[in-house]
C-alpha cells in the first residue's frame, strides 16, 4: 500500500465539496430544476400556508409579507425591503462579496435592478437638487451672459477689406453696366 496516501488525498479531494461546502442542491430555496419550478406558488391564505411559504423562502413568519393580490401580484413571493448593492456595507464578510450577498439570502423581486451598478433608492445626495439647479443655472447664466455681452464687440484683425479689380468686380457680381462706377485702388508708392 505504497500509494495509499496519494489515493486517500484524491478521495478527500473528491468528497470535499460534500463535506465542507454547501451547494445549490442542499439549499431549500433553489431546489428547482425546470422553469415551472421557479414559479412562485399561489398566495397563502391560512396561517399554516403562510408558515410553510415563509419556510420555503427561508424567512421567519414575522418577516414574511407578500405583495398585494391585485391581479398582477407575485403570488407567495415575499415582499422584501429594498437594500441596494450600493447601500450594503462593503466591509461585511459576505458569502458572495462580488454581489454583497449571503448564501440562501432571499432576493428582492427586482434584485436585478438594485445591484451595485444599478440604482440606489436610498442614495444620500451631497447637494440637494435645488442647490444643484442653482449652481448649474449660475454657471449657464454666466456663460450665456458673457456671450451676449461679447456679441457687440467682435474681434477683428487690423486690416481693411480686400480690394478687387474691375471696380470691385461690379459686373461679375451681377451689377448693371449702366450704373457702373469707377473705383480706383492705389498702392503706397508715389506716382513718379
Amino acid at each position: 500500500m505504497a500509494a495509499s496516501l496519494k489515493q486517500y488525498r484524491k478521495l478527500l479531494q473528491l468528497l470535499r465539496p460534500f463535506i465542507s461546502h454547501r451547494n445549490l442542491s442542499t439549499s431549500p430555496v433553489v431546489s428547482a430544476y425546470w422553469n415551472k419550478d421557479w414559479k412562485a406558488a399561489a398566495l397563502p391564505k391560512t396561517p399554516k400556508e403562510r408558515a410553510e411559504a415563509a419556510k420555503k423562502y427561508g424567512l421567519r413568519v414575522e418577516d414574511y409579507e407578500t405583495y398585494e393580490d391585485d391581479g398582477s401580484g407575485y403570488g407567495d413571493y415575499p415582499k422584501l425591503p429594498i437594500v441596494s448593492g450600493d447601500a450594503r456595507d462593503a466591509n461585511v464578510d459576505w458569502d458572495i462579496p462580488e454581489m454583497k450577498r449571503n448564501f440562501n439570502e432571499p432576493l428582492h423581486i427586482d434584485a436585478d435592478m438594485y445591484g451595485e451598478d444599478r440604482c440606489n433608492p436610498d442614495l444620500k445626495l451631497r447637494y440637494s437638487y435645488t442647490t444643484m439647479l442653482l449652481y448649474l443655472g449660475t454657471f449657464m447664466a454666466t456663460v450665456i451672459g458673457v456671450y451676449w455681452w461679447s456679441v457687440k464687440y467682435p474681434r477683428f484683425l487690423p486690416v481693411m477689406p480686400k480690394q478687387y479689380p474691375f471696380n470691385d468686380l461690379y459686373l461679375e457680381k451681377g451689377g448693371s453696366p449702366a450704373n457702373e462706377k469707377t473705383i480706383k485702388h492705389y498702392t503706397f508708392e508715389p506716382a513718379d
Binding site: K162, Q163, K184, F188, E189
Partner: protein, 126 residues
C-alpha cells in the same frame, strides 16, 4: 489684443470700420499722386480661362499665368513653382497693403479729431 484694446477701450471713436472701404481721399498727403493698382489680364481673358470669382483679386494675373503654365507644362510641373511662388508673394503683399490702409485710415481719423479739437479750442478763446 492691443487692437481690441484700441478699438473698444482706449479709442473707440477713431477706430476704422474694418468692413467698409477707406473714407478719406486716397490721394491726400501724396503731392504727386499714388501709383494705381493694375492687373495685366483683361476680363475677357479671365472669363475665357474660367477663373473663379474668388481668385479675381489684384493677383489674378499671376494666378492666370500659373494656370496657363500648368496647362502647358503639366499639373504638378516643377517649372511652374516659381510662378506659384510669385502669386503667393503677391497675396502676402496684398494683405500687407490692407494693413497699411487700415493704419492710414486710423491715423487720418486721429488727425481729423486733433484738428477738430484745435479749431474748437480756438473758437473758445476768440
Amino acid at each position: 489684443m492691443g487692437n481690441m484694446m484700441y478699438a473698444y477701450v482706449t479709442n473707440p471713436d477713431t477706430v476704422p470700420d474694418y468692413n467698409a472701404p477707406p473714407t478719406f481721399d486716397p490721394l491726400q498727403g501724396f503731392p504727386n499722386g499714388r501709383k494705381e493698382r493694375v492687373i495685366n489680364v483683361t476680363r475677357e481673358e479671365l472669363d475665357k480661362a474660367n477663373i473663379d470669382l474668388n481668385r479675381r483679386d489684384y493677383c489674378v494675373d499671376l494666378y492666370y499665368n500659373f494656370m496657363k503654365c500648368r496647362r502647358i507644362d503639366g499639373i504638378f510641373a516643377e517649372s511652374c513653382q516659381h510662378i506659384k511662388h510669385d502669386h503667393d508673394k503677391c497675396e502676402f503683399d496684398d494683405y500687407v497693403l490692407r494693413m497699411k490702409e487700415f493704419e492710414r485710415e486710423k491715423r487720418m481719423k486721429e488727425r481729423a479729431k486733433r484738428l477738430m479739437q484745435k479749431s474748437q479750442a480756438e473758437a473758445l478763446t476768440d
